[in-house]
Amino acid sequence: MATVKRTVEVELSTTGLDARGRPQRVPLVTDQEGNLVPVNAAPAVEPELEGEHMLINIGPQHPATHGVLRLVLELDGETVVRCIPHIGYLHCGFEKIGEYRQYNQIIPWTDREDYLNSPGNNVAFALGAERLFGIEITERCKVLRVIASELSRLISHCVWLGTFCIDIGAFTPFLWIFQQRERVYTMLESWIGARMTTTLTRVGGMGADIPDGWTEDLANFIRTFPRVLDECSAVLTKNGIWVGRMVGVGAMSADEAVNYGLSGPLLRASGVAYDVRKDFPYLDYETYDFDVPVGQAGDVYDRYLVRMEEMRQCIRILDQALKRLPDGPVNVSDHRVILPPKSKAMSDMESMIHHFKQVMEGPRPPIGEAYVAVESPKGEKGYYMVSDGTSKPVRWRIRPPSFVNLSAIPRMVEGHLLSDVIAINASIDIVMGEIDR
């Protein structure tokens, strides 16, 4: 069927043009109640010496698209007149496969979906499944999961900072920050055996308890990581080129950001203090003392500041979590869900039956549905699971934050220069595995 031409007339966003009809950076003025609003200059026609518009592909295979995103840009000289994103180049049918797997078998899929934040995804899925099963996890497991999700936020922001610097042109912070990331990798590897695709949690507990001596590594990491972060921000934050490339670029006002469904650092950079850990808390986040960084203008520079501040808050949370880490069992004792320990499984009959049912058929939740959201480094990451009583979910829906954040890229990019497109795309911190699922 031939497609219907897009009826919406996407005209050049007015904030991109100044009075003399020349596209320019988005000027921000404070209106009466004090929040920053882009100037709505009258749209003027380009002078008649307009060159032909050029259609170029910043295509699936491009160093600056962080994966296989494809942006088709209509350029007038250097100014982007229209941006048409194409995604789906990494669509691997996660949700379809989820309907053929048991709950504990889906956890390896949650690593590969947002591969920068695998421990965080495992924790999110485990919370969703435990809400569906109606089980409460032990205290030690809660604190371990907080540590896992904060560490995963750190390594995700590290990859973002590294690739963001390379996109703008600074290469050395990439090497500094990836070295810190390797230290977190070695910690995760000693905990669960895998560097990146961790499969850390199980429904009702964790894959493994932390080895002894692990808390000293974490304490050592907490003590030394902020120094590297300060080095990076010393190099970048007040750098003339860095600031010049990012201030006033891709600005989104607060209510526009909420209407576009942005979440995470993008939303907080626009001035909306919405953080799932504060507003819809999970894993006792309300008992941790940390604050939520909020920007003002919502441009690329504020997103950078918000993420850097968020990394420091992660260190604060990790510090408190390390101090309060209780002893006790990691897994819940309800053997309908968790495999009984090997020794008991071999000795007494009842846990042998449990063991057999777990392995052959997997845990079976009651009929119902649950949506649990988690503050992932990209935004509000949610798992919506519908179960019909069998051991395989009827529907495993992933609410992908960068999918919704990326849908606002035509609004942010039009009117800016081609080099700003790269900066804006890097500031959204997209992961194509999560966008295309």
Partner: protein, 234 residues
Amino acid sequence: MSADFTPVLAGRAAGGNVPAPVTPKNVPYRDGTANPSADALRARFGTTVSRVDVVWGETTVIVDAPRVNEIVRWLHDDPTQRYDYLVDVTAVEYRDLERPIEVVWHLRSLPFRRFIRLKALLQKGQPLEVPSVWDIYKGADWMERECFDMFGIRFVGHPDLRRILMWEQYKEGFPLRKDFPLRGRFSRSEQLRQILSQNPEAKYSMEEISIAEAFEDLPADVRARLGSGEPVGE
């Protein structure tokens, strides 16, 4: 981030006496307390709200499909509700194929810190049509396109309903439907042949092709094929 700028506080606008949110513990299976918006919806719309049930502490309001846009607009604009954040638009198809397909909207009210789930039931027999909420939430654009791509549900009022994850010429149907085999309908070599032997213009949407045509950039063979009326790509 200067101190004098007071951010738009999400979740605190409901006044000072609202208790700070706490991690929900021992969430009841069926008899949790419903979201106050559910009663407001029932009072405001009466029969179009066919059922409200609370599963694992989340209120689900089942409404008739044709009036969804009106209900969501009311939830969005009404000062007492202010559901300004669309979390998700998706669909669920159950394993027994007679049961209707459910289209699900997840909404959050950031100022009042509330979460609600709207559902519309679409009988399998009639055409799967649901009003789009794109004119209320701009974020719904891609979510509805993905729901169409995966389930085949047409969102009436969506400006540009095309496939977003699969390519436009994808002939195998809608992948997330339960009657769609996990490995696809065609053999692997057939799937590979179809995608590798696509014409170049199949990789561009109508919009880009019209832009290229406006500036006479189209290569000759593409222009010839377009002239002969072949369907265009993504």
